[in-house]
Symmetry: C2
Amino acid sequence: MNAPMSIQSCGNCGLASMCLPLALTQPEMTQLDGIIKKSTPYRRGESIFRQGDAFTSIYAVRAGMVKTTLVNARGEEQITGFYFPGELLGLNGLHENIYAGTAIALETVSLCEIPYTKLDELSALLPELRRQLMRQMSQEISDEQNMMLVLAKTSAEEKLGNFLIRLSHRFKRLGFSATQFRLTMSRVDIGNYLGLAVETVSRTLTKLQQRGVIKVEGKEVTILDMSGLSCLNGTCEEPAKVLSVG
Amino acid sequence: MNAPMSIQSCGNCGLASMCLPLALTQPEMTQLDGIIKKSTPYRRGESIFRQGDAFTSIYAVRAGMVKTTLVNARGEEQITGFYFPGELLGLNGLHENIYAGTAIALETVSLCEIPYTKLDELSALLPELRRQLMRQMSQEISDEQNMMLVLAKTSAEEKLGNFLIRLSHRFKRLGFSATQFRLTMSRVDIGNYLGLAVETVSRTLTKLQQRGVIKVEGKEVTILDMSGLSCLNGTCEEPAKVLSVG
DNA sequence: GGTAAACATTGATTTAGATCAACAATTGGA
DNA sequence: TCCAATTGTTGATCTAAATCAATGTTTACC
């Protein structure tokens, strides 16, 4: 090992999180090309894989946003996540060789496809990769446990506050503005994800806007008072309690 | 490779799911002993690790039941899972080397402790282990996504039906009765986990009992009509709709 | 560029489950 | 074996958010 290990963007798929070319040699790079496939872009509404399909590959999002959904026996459908460039899809297919959910493009989406059968080969090539994969799964477990908390314990306002803040973080990480971004998903999708009716999503966004915390213009959102939002989220110091005196 | 690979119970910790002694040689077994630690039992209420602690080990439950919880900045606490013998704790500590939740013994609990630093060593010894670990994480992701669906989309009755059925499956897998078992956790814990008030848990159990679907005697539960419960869960065929005629 | 479909907002009404309150049943320690 | 503490049940009331309903707005496709 010559250079200090660093996680950087991969030329092949443009991803910081998935691809870890730790000063790869040229032949190694060439090998990589043969393993990671660039698949043709998916269009809005197209599914990348469907619940119950044979598990063949995991996917790293290159560009565009993806949602994943889970349907139960009674036909109720839950959006289980929104995936941004740099994030991995299909991690929960490993335990029974079947995709445990459906992934759908919310806009035009590019992906890196990593065939599961090649994962060992790839890991041998990039020893750090498997560990990185474990970290990502670990992260996903944490995120979903946090989501359980949000779904079970918080009000509509807190849910939306939390949602917007997490979106903000992810846009920031991608190098975009943390305070002004576009909601790629519909209000229905937001409601479904947060366990709220569409009408409640609408009303709550309006309420937050009236309070001056955010500005909403259709799908465009501006966060005007980040700490105001954070407070909803509980991630800021409790504002000094104003006790009514005498 | 001589014998066909099979996942069987590990003499060291009695676990089918975690330990994979694929016809190990004696020296290998000896090595294992040095890596997997049997820790002293934890008593009811004791914590195995706490949210924010430095991540050192993952744990496999040998005996007894464990709950894990997550606390957010505002102090709201959510039970994120109940862990049975054979299941793994601490899988979501990997991504930032900090435990992302707290694990608490619900009764006297025995564990196998697997120091994270030994995981590579162990994986080299048992090549199947790392894959098994990935499968377990994958399973946990799926379980939590299912939980998101339950929390966001189902009624109190459905939540409890789903809860009891999942408990039933796990007792069955452990070789115990699938229709009669003890609720190790309190009603408060059940409510917290399912996003319900205690009172609602109590009332709903009573209602299910009155309907003859279950029998409840304190912590002892008997499932009298499994398909009745499954219907709540949506995992059975829709019962023929009785249309009122004329 | 027009029109149907999909998506979003706002208001009125209903409801499932939370909260408040009182009491009963277990549990565990002296 | 008793008593305090914890845990569980049941009833009455309240409320946040769902549902129902009507209308406005954007999108995408002939």
